[in-house]
């Protein structure tokens, strides 16, 4: 492998990892705070993508500027968080926090199945492709290979901003501290007057919006079609489990490991590219069952 190819594989791995991390961030945040593994996260990702395609398709048809596709991504993410995340927590999850984990898993899986069918009802089975946002940013040529600015620069930048922003939010803002306190000990937090129900609702909305944002950001790069959510939940779960459930910085590192592992495999041993993320997961979990950064202590994030 020449240094050039090494760099190319590095770029591809980072771009891929960025997208996976954004989705995994929401998943691990929800698990860290609420101790619920939300399978429906995959559907929220897909619906974020569909919503972006519909909204930006509509905006373009109205003759609006292509650059508006970016704010529309944020709009889609917020809509997913508020219109889907909110009701899911408020109507369903709130009732099952003290139930066995298997039941919680089944409930979120049921929500996933329902939302998969909702997608088919609303958007049909036809693949969509809406790359206005990506085209608006143009291309760069690095070492004779053309990349899109969107994938090479924007996605990693957004991922890094989200990682730093989330750290700052949890440690240096009031709401963040309320979340941390509730995560640490729900009963103690309630006894000093923290409304844990509100904290959970807020966390779930933020987590759901992150899934939606992941879908929105992925939408200009890939075909939007039924089944994309299932794919993403498996991959982001692999990232989250490898890192240790609830570990935000760990998820970033594992997303990077998995992204780079996959892209180097394409260069060195293409046959194994699909296997790599799961091989990494198996290797890590067989040595450290709680994940790379997971611990059995009470502190989750």
């Amino acid at each position: 492998m020449t240094p050039t190819l090494f760099l190319l594989a590095l770029f591809d791995g980072i771009a891929y990892a960025a997208l996976v991390f954004i989705v995994a961030l929401g998943l691990t945040l929800i698990f860290g705070v609420m101790r619920i593994l939300n399978i429906a996260h995959g559907s929220l990702y897909a619906i974020g993508a569909y919503a972006t395609v519909s909204l930006s398709g509509w905006a373009l048809a109205m003759g609006l500027a292509p650059i508006l596709a970016f704010p529309l991504m944020l709009v889609s993410a917020v809509l997913v968080g508020l219109l889907l995340g909110g009701p899911i927590e408020w109507l369903l999850l709130r009732r099952i926090y003290d139930k066995p984990e298997v039941l919680q898993l089944l409930v979120t899986f049921a929500v996933f199945m329902i939302l998969e069918d909702v997608q088919r009802l609303v958007w049909g089975t036809r693949p969509y492709f809406e790359a206005t946002a990506l085209q608006a940013l143009g291309n760069v040529t690095v070492l004779g290979v053309t990349y899109t600015v969107y994938q090479l620069i924007l996605l990693p930048a957004v991922a890094a901003a989200l990682l730093l922003g989330m750290r700052f939010f949890l440690r240096h803002t009031i709401i963040g501290k309320l979340i941390l306190a509730t995560t640490e000990d729900r009963e103690a937090a309630q006894s000093i007057g923290i409304d844990a129900d509100k904290v959970f609702l807020f966390t779930f909305i933020v987590g759901a919006a992150l899934a939606g944002l992941g879908g929105a950001l992925a939408s200009p790069t890939t075909s939007i079609l039924p089944g994309m959510g299932a794919d993403m939940i498996v991959l982001s779960f692999a990232v989250v489990a490898t890192a240790g459930l609830g570990q935000i910085e760990g998820a970033a590192l594992c997303a990077l490991m998995i992204g780079l592992g996959r892209s180097f495999a394409v260069y060195v041993w293409p046959e194994a590219a699909t296997l790599v993320p799961y091989a990494i997961m198996v290797a890590v979990l067989s040595v450290r069952p709680q994940g790379l950064f997971g611990s059995s202590s009470a502190r989750k994030i």
Binding site: F11, V145, T221, P270, A273
Partner: protein, 428 residues
């Protein structure tokens, strides 16, 4: 009194027998993908089937009997599929089954059709192995198979780009992606042994991201890139390749791209090779002036808002075969409704015409179907690429002969084969 009754009964019997023979309807059970990624093929096929049945029944049905079609979802999984198939063929009273889109499902359902003694038309699946490895009494194929489809792509590539040196492949990591590359590579190596394969990539089925493969291909700079991807995977690959300029530096060979033309819009540039799994194209050069063809295309577009793609043509072939075989069997039966054995007998050498050229059923039950290959062109007449430099290859020349195993037969070909294949060429 008793004798009188008996005589009356005897006299009435031939009459009742003949009348009872003609059923109230001719029941067809069709398996198609209504869910999952392959619904990009299954849903158009279902829409086409509904239009075709409507047309047949408006013209008085087949031999005066109206056709009734019910659908089974192939996306529901093999177990549900087989039990639904069994139910429809046994208690549902289906006279003829159309199955399937997926090659895996064809391999599961062909022996089942044989057990259930129900006539089955394999209307869309690609695997060439069915009749090469088994022989069936009840199973027929109303279309070609992967061998002529891939051979046509190789021949078109060699005729239009005789001097290319290197090729890479990006196929889906499942049976179709692997098998189609096997056939393509064998044919290419037999006819042009100096070509070098510089990269073989098999991203997983349903892969949302080909960025790494595209970077690698940009570094490799192959003259030709083959991809037998379809549906969302093909759309994603072509879009991502176009976004990053890969389509300007390599010629793409996309044997299933006819089914993605409309969705790809302006992303598929001019100059890439497009196939259609048969002579299927909404502007078929030999058929586009026929009234029946024009009428169907208009009705399909009106119903779905989309242009017809190859599964629509395959559906039309299956229904054309149904109509042709029953009409042939009725004629052979002196105008009376035929029983199943008479229908089976009429399948031998059957010729029928859907929306492409006529198709014939060979003695091993394989259909002989022409193959259309062409080059994409953005003319501005449509908001998507259309086809130019169209070649239609005679199906009989490029289908492995009866009793031959495709890969062995293809491996024995050489460059002279290129000139032996019957071909008709059209500018657009």
């Amino acid at each position: 009194m008793k004798t009188w009754l008996l005589t009356a009964l005897c006299a009435a019997m031939p009459l009742t027998a003949a009348a009872a023979d003609k059923p109230a309807s001719l029941k067809v059970g069709m398996t198609t993908f209504l869910t999952g990624p392959a619904s990009v093929f299954g849903v158009p096929a279902k829409n086409a089937a509904e239009i075709l049945v409507e047309t047949i029944n408006a013209q008085g049905g087949i031999g005066g009997v109206p056709v009734e079609v019910s659908f089974i979802d192939e996306g529901a999984g093999a177990e549900t599929l087989t039990s639904e198939y069994r139910r429809l063929a046994e208690s549902g009273g289906a006279d003829v089954m159309f199955a399937a889109i997926s090659s895996g499902n064809c391999q599961t359902l062909a022996p089942l059709a044989e057990d259930l003694k129900v006539i089955n038309f394999m209307w869309d699946c690609g695997t060439q192995k069915i009749f090469e490895e088994h022989s069936y009494k009840y199973v027929f194929r109303t279309q070609a198979n992967a061998t002529p489809e891939m051979l046509a792509a190789v021949i078109y590539l060699l005729k239009t780009h005789p001097d290319f040196k290197t090729i890479a492949v990006v196929n889906q990591d499942y049976a179709w992606g692997r098998d189609s590359w096997d056939i393509f590579r064998t044919a290419l190596m037999a006819m042009k042994p100096d070509v070098k394969v510089v990269g073989e990539f098999f991203p997983k089925f349903g892969s949302p991201d080909f960025s790494t493969e595209i970077s690698r291909l940009q570094a490799l700079r192959p003259d030709v890139i083959l991809s037998t991807n379809w549906g969302g995977d093909l759309d994603t690959f072509v879009q991502q390749a176009a976004q990053r300029g890969l389509m300007n530096s390599s010629t793409f060979v996309l044997p299933l791209a006819e089914s993605s033309l409309e969705r790809l819009g302006s992303s598929l540039p001019s100059g890439h090779i497009v196939g259609a799994r048969g002579d299927h194209y909404f502007r078929h050069p030999e058929r586009r002036d026929d009234d029946a063809f024009k009428d169907f295309m208009a009705r399909y577009e009106e119903k779905t808002g989309e242009i017809s793609v190859y599964p629509v043509f395959h559906t039309a072939q299956a229904f054309a075969a149904l109509q042709a075989v029953y009409e042939k069997a009725i004629a052979a039966n002196g105008g009376d409704w035929p029983d199943e054995d008479q229908v089976l007998a009429a399948m031998a050498g059957l010729e029928f015409q859907g929306l492409g050229r006529p198709v014939t059923i060979r003695e091993d039950h394989q259909g002989i179907e022409a193959q259309l290959m062409a080059t994409s062109v953005q003319t501005g007449d449509h908001p998507f690429a259309t086809l130019e430099n169209i070649m239609i290859f005679d199906g009989a020349d490029i289908t492995a002969p009866v009793g031959e195993v495709s890969v062995d037969w293809i491996g024995g070909l050489d460059a002279s084969f290129l000139d032996q294949v019957g071909v008709a060429t059209y500018a657009d």
